[in-house]
């Protein structure tokens, strides 16, 4: 049995917030694939859980009139990768979350839980960084939005007060229209393994040879997911060449700050940063309609 001392189920967002306000020590649970593991491993005790598992309004993908894509925080990974809006407009996000765990984990784990736990290896995070995703957060005082890059405050720390709930993720059309993307997850094994490094590139092409816009985001290359803004600046406007690819890898290296962990050494991660950035760039350029 899980070490749970109290369990409450919210039927809507407002109720969940009320419950959080009334219970300063409570923990939200959505899919539970992080919370229940923590409880099982004894990293959390006497949990007072507030479940948002069954809240329908938190689950689903839709598009606003202006083309903004809205992903409910409680949408499972498999619902995201199978959704037609994702497949048509932001396929790279679907590909990234399709690499989380195995199928049963993708059926239970949610994108909201994936970013709210604040880990740098979250497979959805780097792609959301590349899309400049905006997060909608609701609390007792109302709704606020924050850019994903400002949401991550440090390892395991996000910009979320105890009484607040991440409700949705927004991706505006200027951040996805015309872009081709590619996500690469490097892990020791293909399935059921946390990323040693995650790397996503987005590319917009002018004509067929020139880079109109370029974005590069990495997971596990620093304490939190990150964008390589300096690399992006140097590549923008350039013509695609083999030298340019080399430049992506070399410049990205100067921006990252990976750690040694039991999974991999810093040196190995640096090697991955250089190599995967190049590969992701090459493929994203192709996916955006570019030709070598």
């Amino acid at each position: 049995m899980y070490d749970i001392i109290a369990y409450e189920e919210a039927s809507c967002i407002e109720e969940a917030i009320k419950l959080l306000v009334a219970n300063p020590n409570a923990t939200l649970i959505s899919g539970g694939s992080d919370v229940l593991i923590k409880l099982h491993e004894g990293r959390m005790h006497d949990a007072h859980l507030i479940s948002i598992h069954g809240i329908k309004e938190l689950s689903g993908v839709s598009m606003l009139e202006d083309g903004t894509i809205v992903i409910g925080s409680g949408t499972s990974f498999s619902k995201i990768s199978k959704h037609p809006i994702v497949q048509q407009f932001i396929p790279v996000l679907g590909e990234a979350v399709d690499m989380v765990g195995g199928p049963q984990i993708r059926n239970i784990g949610t994108i909201g839980g994936n970013i709210c736990n604040g880990v740098t290896s979250a497979d959805s995070a780097s792609t959301l960084f590349a899309f400049n995703a905006r997060l909608e957060i609701q609390g007792p005082d109302g709704v606020r939005t924050v850019l994903i890059k400002e949401f991550y405050k440090g390892p395991g720390k996000v910009d979320l007060q105890h009484e607040e709930i991440l409700t949705a993720i927004f991706i505006t059309p200027d951040n996805y229209r015309g872009y081709g993307g590619h996500y690469i997850k490097y892990a020791m094994r293909n399935a059921m393994d946390i990323a040693t490094l995650g790397c996503v590139a987005l590319c917009k092409v002018k004509g067929i040879h020139q880079i109109e816009d370029f974005r590069l985001a990495l997971g596990v290359a620093a304490p939190v997911p990150m964008r390589c803004t300096e690399t992006e600046r140097l590549i923008k406007g350039e013509f695609f060449t083999e030298e340019l690819i080399e430049k992506v890898g070399k410049t990205a290296l100067k921006e990252v700050n990976p750690r040694t962990s039991w999974r991999a050494s810093k040196d190995f991660r640096l090697q991955l940063v250089e190599e995967l950035s190049k590969r992701a760039f090459r493929q994203a350029f192709k996916n955006a309609g570019g030709e070598q």
Binding site: Y2, Y7, S33, L36, H53, G101, G102, P103, N107, A191
Partner: protein, 168 residues
């Protein structure tokens, strides 16, 4: 102790029971409903031995709170054989000798059943990916792959009379 009354369908039969909020669905299925075909391997979502179908989608029941089952439809290995006749997937596992100790088998069967009922065609690579949430410590996976491939083959091309003697 906090109890909650929930109602759900288990293998087509509706039941109402009181569960402890601390219980996983896995523990309720095994300890209270005696569905011991649902295996407890790792308890942390890594081995897939506890897989059942919830509203026809595969879930690890070890990381699924029992209270969440309220209103759901659950299928376990116990309900797959109908009137003494094995399901197509069970029969394929038998035909291909995809079982050694059998601990992982119910989980594999349930995931393969979800695939079969999706009506989609799966390549070998896709089958591997769809079964990647399961671990088996004895068969070496080869026969499991053959069984899944067999079960997922369109019936007209490869009828059930084959009994696994041909692997084409």
């Amino acid at each position: 102790m906090q109890l909650k009354k929930i109602t759900f369908k288990i293998n087509s039969k509706e039941i109402t029971i009181e569960v402890d909020v601390r219980e996983s669905l896995l523990d309720v299925l095994r300890n209270k409903l005696h569905m011991t075909g649902v295996k407890k391997g790792c308890s942390v979502g890594e081995c897939g031995a506890c897989t059942v179908l919830i509203d026809n989608v595969a879930f690890d029941t070890c990381i699924y709170l029992a209270v969440w089952a309220d209103g759901k439809e659950i299928r376990t290995i116990e309900g797959e054989a109908k009137e003494g006749k094995l399901s197509k997937v069970q029969q394929s596992f038998l035909d291909e000798a995809a079982v050694q100790c059998g601990f992982c088998t119910p989980g594999f069967v349930m995931s393969t059943t979800e695939m079969l009922e999706s009506g989609k065609v799966f390549s070998k690579e896709q089958i591997k990916k769809e079964l990647s949430g399961h671990m088996c410590r004895c068969t070496g996976y080869h026969n499991i792959m053959l069984a899944a491939e067999k079960a997922l083959q369109p019936a007209n091309k490869h009828g059930s009379e084959c009994h696994g003697k041909c692997h084409k």
